[in-house]
Amino acid sequence: MTTDNNVLIKVDGLQKSFGDIEVLKGIDAEIKKGDVIVVIGASGSGKSTFLRCLNLLEEPTGGQIYFEGTEITDPKVNINLHRQKMGMVFQQFNLFPHMTILKNMTIGPMKLLGKSKAEAEKTAIELLERVGLADRKDAYPSQLSGGQKQRVAIVRALAMNPDVILFDEPTSALDPEMVGEVLEVMKSLAKEGMTMVVVTHEMGFAKEVASKVVFIDEGVIKEENEPEEFFANPKCDRLKDFLSKVL
Protein backbone atom coordinates (compact mmCIF):
# COMPACT_ATOMS: atom_id res chain seq x y z
CA MET A 1 0.00 0.00 0.00
CA THR A 2 1.17 3.47 -0.84
CA THR A 3 2.44 5.77 1.85
CA ASP A 4 0.96 8.85 0.18
CA ASN A 5 -1.77 9.98 2.55
CA ASN A 6 -3.46 11.96 -0.15
CA VAL A 7 -4.36 8.88 -2.15
CA LEU A 8 -7.98 8.04 -1.47
CA ILE A 9 -8.53 5.20 -3.92
CA LYS A 10 -5.89 3.07 -5.55
CA VAL A 11 -6.79 0.54 -8.21
CA ASP A 12 -4.33 -2.22 -9.14
CA GLY A 13 -4.84 -4.38 -12.21
CA LEU A 14 -8.64 -4.35 -11.88
CA GLN A 15 -10.36 -7.02 -13.95
CA LYS A 16 -14.03 -7.84 -14.36
CA SER A 17 -15.65 -10.53 -16.47
CA PHE A 18 -19.31 -11.34 -16.91
CA GLY A 19 -19.19 -15.01 -17.79
CA ASP A 20 -16.96 -15.28 -20.84
CA ILE A 21 -17.07 -11.57 -21.59
CA GLU A 22 -14.06 -9.71 -20.28
CA VAL A 23 -15.20 -6.15 -19.63
CA LEU A 24 -12.24 -4.75 -17.69
CA LYS A 25 -8.82 -6.06 -18.65
CA GLY A 26 -6.54 -4.62 -16.02
CA ILE A 27 -7.06 -1.05 -14.90
CA ASP A 28 -4.65 0.92 -12.72
CA ALA A 29 -5.68 4.22 -11.26
CA GLU A 30 -4.98 6.52 -8.37
CA ILE A 31 -7.51 8.99 -7.06
CA LYS A 32 -6.29 11.66 -4.68
CA LYS A 33 -8.28 13.73 -2.23
CA GLY A 34 -9.99 16.60 -4.02
CA ASP A 35 -9.60 15.03 -7.45
CA VAL A 36 -12.42 15.29 -9.94
CA ILE A 37 -11.86 12.37 -12.25
CA VAL A 38 -14.06 12.34 -15.34
CA VAL A 39 -14.27 8.99 -17.08
CA ILE A 40 -15.35 8.99 -20.72
CA GLY A 41 -15.66 6.30 -23.35
CA ALA A 42 -18.06 4.74 -25.81
CA SER A 43 -20.96 2.73 -24.46
CA GLY A 44 -19.85 -0.81 -23.72
CA SER A 45 -16.28 0.33 -23.12
CA GLY A 46 -16.48 -0.66 -19.45
CA LYS A 47 -16.50 2.82 -17.89
CA SER A 48 -19.66 2.23 -15.84
CA THR A 49 -18.43 -1.19 -14.79
CA PHE A 50 -15.19 0.43 -13.62
CA LEU A 51 -17.14 2.92 -11.50
CA ARG A 52 -19.41 0.22 -10.06
CA CYS A 53 -16.37 -1.85 -9.12
CA LEU A 54 -15.01 0.99 -7.00
CA ASN A 55 -17.68 0.44 -4.32
CA LEU A 56 -18.01 -3.25 -5.16
CA LEU A 57 -21.53 -3.06 -6.56
CA GLU A 58 -19.83 -5.21 -9.16
CA GLU A 59 -17.43 -7.65 -7.63
CA PRO A 60 -14.07 -7.55 -9.45
CA THR A 61 -12.80 -10.85 -10.83
CA GLY A 62 -9.17 -9.76 -10.52
CA GLY A 63 -6.91 -7.07 -9.11
CA GLN A 64 -7.16 -5.00 -5.95
CA ILE A 65 -8.88 -1.81 -4.89
CA TYR A 66 -7.60 0.14 -1.89
CA PHE A 67 -9.81 2.73 -0.24
CA GLU A 68 -8.29 4.91 2.45
CA GLY A 69 -5.53 2.38 2.89
CA THR A 70 -7.73 -0.71 3.20
CA GLU A 71 -7.93 -3.37 0.54
CA ILE A 72 -11.70 -3.46 0.08
CA THR A 73 -11.49 -6.29 -2.47
CA ASP A 74 -10.46 -8.56 0.41
CA PRO A 75 -13.55 -10.72 1.12
CA LYS A 76 -12.94 -10.41 4.88
CA VAL A 77 -13.44 -6.64 4.77
CA ASN A 78 -16.87 -5.35 5.82
CA ILE A 79 -17.67 -3.44 2.66
CA ASN A 80 -20.74 -1.81 4.21
CA LEU A 81 -18.55 0.34 6.46
CA HIS A 82 -16.50 1.58 3.52
CA ARG A 83 -19.53 2.21 1.35
CA GLN A 84 -20.74 4.70 3.96
CA LYS A 85 -17.77 6.84 2.94
CA MET A 86 -18.36 6.37 -0.81
CA GLY A 87 -21.52 8.07 -2.01
CA MET A 88 -23.05 7.01 -5.28
CA VAL A 89 -25.36 8.80 -7.71
CA PHE A 90 -27.09 6.73 -10.36
CA GLN A 91 -28.27 7.43 -13.87
CA GLN A 92 -31.81 6.41 -12.90
CA PHE A 93 -31.68 8.39 -9.59
CA ASN A 94 -32.90 5.36 -7.60
CA LEU A 95 -34.65 7.42 -4.96
CA PHE A 96 -36.77 5.27 -2.68
CA PRO A 97 -40.31 5.78 -4.04
CA HIS A 98 -42.08 4.76 -0.82
CA MET A 99 -40.36 7.42 1.27
CA THR A 100 -40.62 11.20 1.34
CA ILE A 101 -37.62 13.23 0.21
CA LEU A 102 -36.72 13.85 3.84
CA LYS A 103 -36.93 10.14 4.70
CA ASN A 104 -34.82 9.30 1.64
CA MET A 105 -32.13 11.53 3.06
CA THR A 106 -32.32 10.53 6.70
CA ILE A 107 -32.51 6.74 6.47
CA GLY A 108 -28.78 6.35 5.90
CA PRO A 109 -27.58 8.71 8.64
CA MET A 110 -30.14 7.33 11.11
CA LYS A 111 -29.58 3.63 10.46
CA LEU A 112 -25.84 3.77 9.88
CA LEU A 113 -24.31 6.82 11.54
CA GLY A 114 -26.43 6.58 14.69
CA LYS A 115 -27.85 10.07 14.25
CA SER A 116 -31.07 11.04 15.98
CA LYS A 117 -34.09 11.87 13.85
CA ALA A 118 -33.83 15.57 14.71
CA GLU A 119 -30.12 15.69 13.89
CA ALA A 120 -30.53 13.83 10.62
CA GLU A 121 -33.45 15.98 9.56
CA LYS A 122 -31.60 19.18 10.37
CA THR A 123 -28.67 18.16 8.17
CA ALA A 124 -31.04 16.97 5.44
CA ILE A 125 -32.93 20.26 5.35
CA GLU A 126 -29.69 22.25 5.21
CA LEU A 127 -28.55 20.16 2.28
CA LEU A 128 -31.93 20.49 0.56
CA GLU A 129 -31.76 24.26 0.98
CA ARG A 130 -28.44 24.16 -0.78
CA VAL A 131 -29.99 22.65 -3.88
CA GLY A 132 -33.14 24.76 -3.56
CA LEU A 133 -35.50 21.91 -2.68
CA ALA A 134 -36.17 22.41 1.02
CA ASP A 135 -39.83 23.17 0.30
CA ARG A 136 -40.23 19.74 -1.30
CA LYS A 137 -39.02 17.80 1.73
CA ASP A 138 -42.40 16.16 2.34
CA ALA A 139 -43.01 15.31 -1.31
CA TYR A 140 -42.52 11.84 -2.73
CA PRO A 141 -39.98 11.20 -5.50
CA SER A 142 -42.73 10.64 -8.08
CA GLN A 143 -43.83 14.25 -7.57
CA LEU A 144 -40.45 15.67 -8.61
CA SER A 145 -38.99 16.34 -12.04
CA GLY A 146 -35.96 14.39 -13.23
CA GLY A 147 -33.58 17.22 -12.45
CA GLN A 148 -35.05 17.62 -8.97
CA LYS A 149 -34.78 13.88 -8.35
CA GLN A 150 -31.12 13.87 -9.29
CA ARG A 151 -30.41 16.87 -7.06
CA VAL A 152 -32.05 15.01 -4.19
CA ALA A 153 -30.01 11.91 -5.05
CA ILE A 154 -26.82 13.98 -4.82
CA VAL A 155 -27.68 15.45 -1.43
CA ARG A 156 -28.83 12.02 -0.23
CA ALA A 157 -25.28 10.85 -0.91
CA LEU A 158 -23.90 14.00 0.77
CA ALA A 159 -25.99 13.39 3.89
CA MET A 160 -23.71 10.46 4.71
CA ASN A 161 -20.77 12.88 4.71
CA PRO A 162 -18.77 10.75 2.27
CA ASP A 163 -15.10 11.13 1.32
CA VAL A 164 -15.82 10.50 -2.35
CA ILE A 165 -18.90 10.47 -4.55
CA LEU A 166 -19.22 8.23 -7.57
CA PHE A 167 -21.45 9.54 -10.37
CA ASP A 168 -22.71 6.99 -12.89
CA GLU A 169 -23.89 9.02 -15.89
CA PRO A 170 -25.87 11.39 -13.67
CA THR A 171 -27.35 13.46 -16.50
CA SER A 172 -27.97 10.79 -19.13
CA ALA A 173 -31.59 10.13 -18.13
CA LEU A 174 -32.51 13.81 -17.92
CA ASP A 175 -34.38 16.04 -20.33
CA PRO A 176 -31.87 18.46 -21.90
CA GLU A 177 -33.20 21.50 -20.07
CA MET A 178 -32.63 19.80 -16.72
CA VAL A 179 -29.02 18.82 -17.31
CA GLY A 180 -27.77 22.27 -16.37
CA GLU A 181 -29.25 22.36 -12.87
CA VAL A 182 -27.64 19.03 -11.98
CA LEU A 183 -24.26 19.98 -13.43
CA GLU A 184 -24.38 23.23 -11.43
CA VAL A 185 -24.71 21.27 -8.19
CA MET A 186 -21.84 19.00 -9.20
CA LYS A 187 -19.65 21.98 -10.09
CA SER A 188 -20.24 23.63 -6.74
CA LEU A 189 -19.33 20.36 -5.02
CA ALA A 190 -16.11 20.17 -7.00
CA LYS A 191 -15.24 23.75 -6.06
CA GLU A 192 -15.62 22.87 -2.39
CA GLY A 193 -13.03 20.17 -2.82
CA MET A 194 -15.25 17.07 -2.84
CA THR A 195 -13.49 14.10 -4.40
CA MET A 196 -15.55 12.91 -7.34
CA VAL A 197 -15.37 10.19 -9.95
CA VAL A 198 -17.77 10.99 -12.76
CA VAL A 199 -18.74 8.80 -15.69
CA THR A 200 -20.38 11.14 -18.16
CA HIS A 201 -20.85 12.24 -21.74
CA GLU A 202 -20.84 15.93 -20.76
CA MET A 203 -17.58 17.05 -22.34
CA GLY A 204 -18.18 20.64 -21.28
CA PHE A 205 -18.28 19.53 -17.65
CA ALA A 206 -15.06 17.55 -18.14
CA LYS A 207 -13.25 20.55 -19.67
CA GLU A 208 -14.42 22.95 -17.01
CA VAL A 209 -14.27 20.95 -13.80
CA ALA A 210 -12.14 17.83 -14.17
CA SER A 211 -8.71 17.61 -12.63
CA LYS A 212 -8.08 14.59 -14.83
CA VAL A 213 -9.94 13.04 -17.74
CA VAL A 214 -9.70 9.31 -18.30
CA PHE A 215 -10.56 7.58 -21.57
CA ILE A 216 -11.54 3.94 -21.21
CA ASP A 217 -11.74 1.79 -24.31
CA GLU A 218 -11.98 -1.99 -24.69
CA GLY A 219 -11.58 -2.49 -20.95
CA VAL A 220 -8.35 -0.56 -20.46
CA ILE A 221 -7.40 3.05 -19.83
CA LYS A 222 -6.21 4.17 -23.25
CA GLU A 223 -5.37 7.71 -22.28
CA GLU A 224 -5.50 10.01 -19.28
CA ASN A 225 -4.47 13.60 -18.91
CA GLU A 226 -5.37 17.02 -17.60
CA PRO A 227 -8.42 18.29 -19.45
CA GLU A 228 -6.73 20.98 -21.57
CA GLU A 229 -4.09 18.67 -22.92
CA PHE A 230 -6.56 15.80 -23.15
CA PHE A 231 -8.95 17.61 -25.44
CA ALA A 232 -6.38 19.72 -27.31
CA ASN A 233 -3.79 17.03 -28.04
CA PRO A 234 -5.32 13.56 -27.89
CA LYS A 235 -2.58 11.04 -28.54
CA CYS A 236 -4.16 7.70 -29.37
CA ASP A 237 -6.23 7.25 -32.51
CA ARG A 238 -9.22 5.77 -30.70
CA LEU A 239 -9.54 8.88 -28.58
CA LYS A 240 -9.12 11.20 -31.58
CA ASP A 241 -11.85 9.26 -33.32
CA PHE A 242 -14.09 9.33 -30.22
CA LEU A 243 -13.63 13.05 -29.62
CA SER A 244 -14.30 13.87 -33.26
CA LYS A 245 -17.68 12.19 -32.84
CA VAL A 246 -18.77 13.69 -29.54
CA LEU A 247 -17.37 17.23 -29.73
Binding site: N80, G87, Q92, N94, F96, H98, K111, A157
Partner: protein
Amino acid sequence: MTAWIAADFATFVQMQGKEVVNSFKLGWQDFVDEFTRNFINEERWKWLVEGFGNTLLITFLAGLIGIALGVIIAIVRSTYDKMGSDLKKRGGIGYAVLAFFNAICNVYLTIIRGTPVVVQLLIMYFIIFASSTNDIMVAVIAFGINSGAYVAEIFRGGIMSVDKGQFEAGRSLGLNYIQTMIHIVIPQMFKIVLPTLCNEFIVLLKETSVAGYVGTVDLTKAGDLIRGRTFSAFMPLIAVALIYLVVVMIFTALVRRLERRLRNSDH
Protein backbone atom coordinates in the same frame (compact mmCIF):
# COMPACT_ATOMS: atom_id res chain seq x y z
CA MET B 1 -112.06 -15.15 -34.99
CA THR B 2 -109.19 -13.09 -33.80
CA ALA B 3 -111.41 -11.50 -31.17
CA TRP B 4 -112.33 -14.90 -29.85
CA ILE B 5 -108.75 -15.89 -29.57
CA ALA B 6 -107.90 -12.61 -27.88
CA ALA B 7 -110.70 -13.03 -25.32
CA ASP B 8 -109.70 -16.57 -24.62
CA PHE B 9 -106.12 -15.49 -24.22
CA ALA B 10 -107.17 -12.80 -21.77
CA THR B 11 -109.07 -15.34 -19.66
CA PHE B 12 -106.09 -17.64 -19.85
CA VAL B 13 -103.74 -14.95 -18.61
CA GLN B 14 -106.16 -14.01 -15.86
CA MET B 15 -106.41 -17.57 -14.66
CA GLN B 16 -102.70 -18.17 -14.94
CA GLY B 17 -102.07 -14.93 -13.10
CA LYS B 18 -104.24 -16.03 -10.19
CA GLU B 19 -102.46 -19.34 -10.23
CA VAL B 20 -99.09 -17.64 -10.12
CA VAL B 21 -100.16 -15.34 -7.33
CA ASN B 22 -101.65 -18.26 -5.43
CA SER B 23 -98.65 -20.44 -5.85
CA PHE B 24 -96.45 -17.51 -4.94
CA LYS B 25 -98.49 -16.99 -1.76
CA LEU B 26 -98.15 -20.67 -1.09
CA GLY B 27 -94.41 -20.51 -1.91
CA TRP B 28 -93.86 -17.54 0.36
CA GLN B 29 -95.64 -19.34 3.18
CA ASP B 30 -93.49 -22.41 2.55
CA PHE B 31 -90.43 -20.24 2.53
CA VAL B 32 -91.29 -18.62 5.84
CA ASP B 33 -92.05 -22.00 7.37
CA GLU B 34 -88.85 -23.50 6.09
CA PHE B 35 -86.85 -20.50 7.23
CA THR B 36 -88.37 -20.67 10.69
CA ARG B 37 -87.80 -24.40 10.95
CA ASN B 38 -84.17 -24.17 9.86
CA PHE B 39 -82.96 -21.00 11.47
CA ILE B 40 -85.36 -19.70 14.11
CA ASN B 41 -86.43 -22.86 15.90
CA GLU B 42 -84.08 -23.87 18.69
CA GLU B 43 -82.10 -20.73 17.79
CA ARG B 44 -80.30 -22.60 15.03
CA TRP B 45 -79.13 -19.31 13.50
CA LYS B 46 -76.67 -19.16 16.35
CA TRP B 47 -74.86 -22.14 14.82
CA LEU B 48 -74.33 -20.19 11.65
CA VAL B 49 -73.06 -17.19 13.60
CA GLU B 50 -70.68 -19.35 15.58
CA GLY B 51 -69.52 -21.16 12.44
CA PHE B 52 -69.05 -17.92 10.59
CA GLY B 53 -67.00 -16.55 13.49
CA ASN B 54 -64.78 -19.63 13.43
CA THR B 55 -64.35 -19.39 9.68
CA LEU B 56 -63.21 -15.78 9.98
CA LEU B 57 -60.95 -16.60 12.94
CA ILE B 58 -59.26 -19.50 11.14
CA THR B 59 -58.87 -17.49 7.96
CA PHE B 60 -57.42 -14.48 9.76
CA LEU B 61 -54.92 -16.37 11.93
CA ALA B 62 -53.93 -18.75 9.13
CA GLY B 63 -53.45 -15.71 6.90
CA LEU B 64 -51.05 -14.18 9.43
CA ILE B 65 -49.07 -17.42 9.69
CA GLY B 66 -49.03 -17.64 5.91
CA ILE B 67 -47.67 -14.12 5.54
CA ALA B 68 -44.98 -14.66 8.18
CA LEU B 69 -43.88 -17.96 6.62
CA GLY B 70 -44.14 -16.49 3.15
CA VAL B 71 -41.87 -13.53 3.91
CA ILE B 72 -39.20 -15.73 5.46
CA ILE B 73 -39.24 -18.29 2.65
CA ALA B 74 -39.32 -15.65 -0.05
CA ILE B 75 -36.28 -13.92 1.49
CA VAL B 76 -34.34 -17.18 1.79
CA ARG B 77 -35.14 -18.23 -1.76
CA SER B 78 -34.51 -14.88 -3.42
CA THR B 79 -31.31 -14.40 -1.42
CA TYR B 80 -30.13 -17.77 -2.62
CA ASP B 81 -31.00 -16.92 -6.21
CA LYS B 82 -29.33 -13.51 -6.02
CA MET B 83 -26.31 -14.17 -3.84
CA GLY B 84 -25.83 -17.95 -3.90
CA SER B 85 -23.23 -18.03 -6.64
CA ASP B 86 -21.27 -15.12 -5.15
CA LEU B 87 -21.22 -16.70 -1.70
CA LYS B 88 -20.19 -20.04 -3.16
CA LYS B 89 -17.18 -18.45 -4.82
CA ARG B 90 -16.12 -16.86 -1.57
CA GLY B 91 -16.52 -20.14 0.29
CA GLY B 92 -17.07 -20.22 4.02
CA ILE B 93 -19.97 -21.21 6.21
CA GLY B 94 -22.39 -18.61 4.81
CA TYR B 95 -23.07 -20.47 1.62
CA ALA B 96 -23.57 -23.80 3.39
CA VAL B 97 -26.14 -22.30 5.77
CA LEU B 98 -27.98 -20.53 2.98
CA ALA B 99 -28.02 -23.62 0.76
CA PHE B 100 -29.32 -25.69 3.69
CA PHE B 101 -32.24 -23.35 4.39
CA ASN B 102 -32.96 -22.99 0.69
CA ALA B 103 -33.20 -26.78 0.41
CA ILE B 104 -35.61 -26.93 3.37
CA CYS B 105 -37.78 -24.26 1.77
CA ASN B 106 -37.86 -26.16 -1.50
CA VAL B 107 -38.90 -29.39 0.22
CA TYR B 108 -41.65 -27.51 2.09
CA LEU B 109 -42.96 -25.88 -1.08
CA THR B 110 -42.94 -29.17 -2.97
CA ILE B 111 -44.80 -31.11 -0.30
CA ILE B 112 -47.38 -28.43 0.51
CA ARG B 113 -48.16 -27.58 -3.08
CA GLY B 114 -48.11 -31.21 -4.13
CA THR B 115 -50.72 -32.57 -1.70
CA PRO B 116 -54.38 -31.66 -1.11
CA VAL B 117 -55.12 -29.33 1.76
CA VAL B 118 -57.69 -31.77 3.20
CA VAL B 119 -55.03 -34.47 3.47
CA GLN B 120 -52.67 -31.99 5.13
CA LEU B 121 -55.41 -31.06 7.59
CA LEU B 122 -56.16 -34.70 8.42
CA ILE B 123 -52.46 -35.46 8.92
CA MET B 124 -52.14 -32.46 11.23
CA TYR B 125 -55.16 -33.45 13.28
CA PHE B 126 -54.83 -37.23 13.47
CA ILE B 127 -51.03 -37.65 13.36
CA ILE B 128 -49.01 -34.57 14.25
CA PHE B 129 -51.37 -33.09 16.82
CA ALA B 130 -53.10 -36.35 17.70
CA SER B 131 -53.05 -35.49 21.40
CA SER B 132 -54.59 -32.05 20.90
CA THR B 133 -58.32 -31.50 21.17
CA ASN B 134 -58.20 -27.87 20.08
CA ASP B 135 -59.43 -28.46 16.56
CA ILE B 136 -59.55 -24.74 15.70
CA MET B 137 -55.88 -24.24 16.48
CA VAL B 138 -54.97 -27.34 14.49
CA ALA B 139 -56.97 -25.96 11.57
CA VAL B 140 -55.25 -22.57 11.93
CA ILE B 141 -51.83 -24.21 11.81
CA ALA B 142 -52.71 -26.50 8.91
CA PHE B 143 -54.20 -23.74 6.77
CA GLY B 144 -51.43 -21.32 7.78
CA ILE B 145 -48.70 -23.71 6.71
CA ASN B 146 -50.60 -24.43 3.51
CA SER B 147 -51.13 -20.79 2.71
CA GLY B 148 -47.49 -19.94 3.47
CA ALA B 149 -46.34 -21.97 0.47
CA TYR B 150 -48.49 -19.99 -1.94
CA VAL B 151 -47.80 -16.64 -0.28
CA ALA B 152 -44.05 -17.36 -0.45
CA GLU B 153 -44.18 -17.62 -4.21
CA ILE B 154 -46.26 -14.44 -4.45
CA PHE B 155 -43.69 -12.60 -2.33
CA ARG B 156 -40.74 -14.03 -4.23
CA GLY B 157 -42.22 -12.75 -7.47
CA GLY B 158 -42.74 -9.38 -5.78
CA ILE B 159 -39.18 -9.16 -4.49
CA MET B 160 -37.80 -10.00 -7.91
CA SER B 161 -39.92 -7.34 -9.57
CA VAL B 162 -38.62 -4.53 -7.35
CA ASP B 163 -36.20 -2.52 -9.50
CA LYS B 164 -32.60 -3.70 -9.08
CA GLY B 165 -31.51 -0.07 -8.76
CA GLN B 166 -33.41 0.19 -5.47
CA PHE B 167 -31.34 -2.59 -3.99
CA GLU B 168 -28.14 -1.03 -5.30
CA ALA B 169 -29.07 2.40 -3.95
CA GLY B 170 -29.62 0.90 -0.50
CA ARG B 171 -26.36 -1.02 -0.58
CA SER B 172 -24.40 1.98 -1.88
CA LEU B 173 -25.50 3.99 1.17
CA GLY B 174 -23.85 1.33 3.28
CA LEU B 175 -26.96 -0.58 4.37
CA ASN B 176 -26.24 -4.29 4.64
CA TYR B 177 -28.23 -6.95 2.80
CA ILE B 178 -30.81 -7.46 5.55
CA GLN B 179 -31.29 -3.73 6.20
CA THR B 180 -31.75 -3.10 2.49
CA MET B 181 -34.33 -5.87 2.33
CA ILE B 182 -36.26 -4.62 5.37
CA HIS B 183 -36.23 -0.88 4.67
CA ILE B 184 -36.08 -0.68 0.89
CA VAL B 185 -37.13 -3.86 -0.92
CA ILE B 186 -39.83 -5.46 1.27
CA PRO B 187 -41.99 -2.31 1.63
CA GLN B 188 -41.99 -1.89 -2.14
CA MET B 189 -42.69 -5.58 -2.61
CA PHE B 190 -45.80 -5.33 -0.42
CA LYS B 191 -47.22 -2.64 -2.63
CA ILE B 192 -46.65 -4.76 -5.72
CA VAL B 193 -48.16 -7.95 -4.28
CA LEU B 194 -51.01 -6.46 -2.24
CA PRO B 195 -53.80 -7.23 -4.76
CA THR B 196 -52.51 -10.78 -5.35
CA LEU B 197 -52.11 -11.27 -1.63
CA CYS B 198 -55.73 -10.23 -1.02
CA ASN B 199 -56.87 -12.74 -3.62
CA GLU B 200 -54.91 -15.44 -1.83
CA PHE B 201 -56.79 -14.42 1.31
CA ILE B 202 -60.10 -14.91 -0.51
CA VAL B 203 -58.97 -18.35 -1.67
CA LEU B 204 -57.98 -19.17 1.90
CA LEU B 205 -61.39 -18.11 3.22
CA LYS B 206 -63.11 -20.58 0.90
CA GLU B 207 -60.56 -23.33 1.51
CA THR B 208 -61.28 -23.30 5.24
CA SER B 209 -64.68 -24.82 4.39
CA VAL B 210 -63.05 -28.24 4.67
CA ALA B 211 -62.22 -27.63 8.35
CA GLY B 212 -65.31 -29.70 9.20
CA TYR B 213 -63.28 -32.80 8.30
CA VAL B 214 -61.64 -32.62 11.71
CA GLY B 215 -64.82 -31.67 13.54
CA THR B 216 -64.34 -27.92 13.56
CA VAL B 217 -67.67 -26.14 13.40
CA ASP B 218 -66.93 -23.60 10.72
CA LEU B 219 -69.58 -21.98 8.56
CA THR B 220 -69.91 -24.95 6.19
CA LYS B 221 -70.06 -27.47 9.00
CA ALA B 222 -72.68 -25.35 10.81
CA GLY B 223 -74.91 -25.39 7.74
CA ASP B 224 -74.43 -29.12 7.42
CA LEU B 225 -75.31 -29.67 11.08
CA ILE B 226 -78.56 -27.79 10.58
CA ARG B 227 -79.30 -29.94 7.53
CA GLY B 228 -78.73 -33.05 9.61
CA ARG B 229 -81.13 -31.81 12.26
CA THR B 230 -83.97 -30.49 10.05
CA PHE B 231 -83.58 -32.94 7.18
CA SER B 232 -83.92 -30.13 4.68
CA ALA B 233 -80.83 -29.37 2.64
CA PHE B 234 -81.94 -26.41 0.57
CA MET B 235 -82.21 -23.63 3.17
CA PRO B 236 -79.07 -24.16 5.24
CA LEU B 237 -76.75 -24.91 2.34
CA ILE B 238 -77.97 -22.01 0.20
CA ALA B 239 -77.67 -19.74 3.24
CA VAL B 240 -74.08 -20.87 3.79
CA ALA B 241 -73.27 -20.34 0.12
CA LEU B 242 -74.78 -16.85 0.22
CA ILE B 243 -72.75 -15.86 3.27
CA TYR B 244 -69.50 -16.94 1.59
CA LEU B 245 -70.54 -15.16 -1.59
CA VAL B 246 -71.33 -11.90 0.18
CA VAL B 247 -68.06 -11.93 2.13
CA VAL B 248 -66.03 -12.68 -1.00
CA MET B 249 -67.87 -9.97 -2.93
CA ILE B 250 -67.12 -7.44 -0.21
CA PHE B 251 -63.45 -8.44 -0.17
CA THR B 252 -63.24 -8.33 -3.95
CA ALA B 253 -64.72 -4.85 -4.01
CA LEU B 254 -62.21 -3.72 -1.38
CA VAL B 255 -59.33 -5.23 -3.36
CA ARG B 256 -60.52 -3.48 -6.50
CA ARG B 257 -60.61 -0.14 -4.68
CA LEU B 258 -57.17 -0.83 -3.28
CA GLU B 259 -55.81 -1.66 -6.74
CA ARG B 260 -57.21 1.57 -8.13
CA ARG B 261 -55.67 3.59 -5.32
CA LEU B 262 -52.29 1.91 -5.80
CA ARG B 263 -52.46 2.62 -9.52
CA ASN B 264 -53.28 6.27 -9.00
CA SER B 265 -50.52 6.99 -6.52
CA ASP B 266 -46.91 6.18 -7.12
CA HIS B 267 -46.08 6.07 -3.48
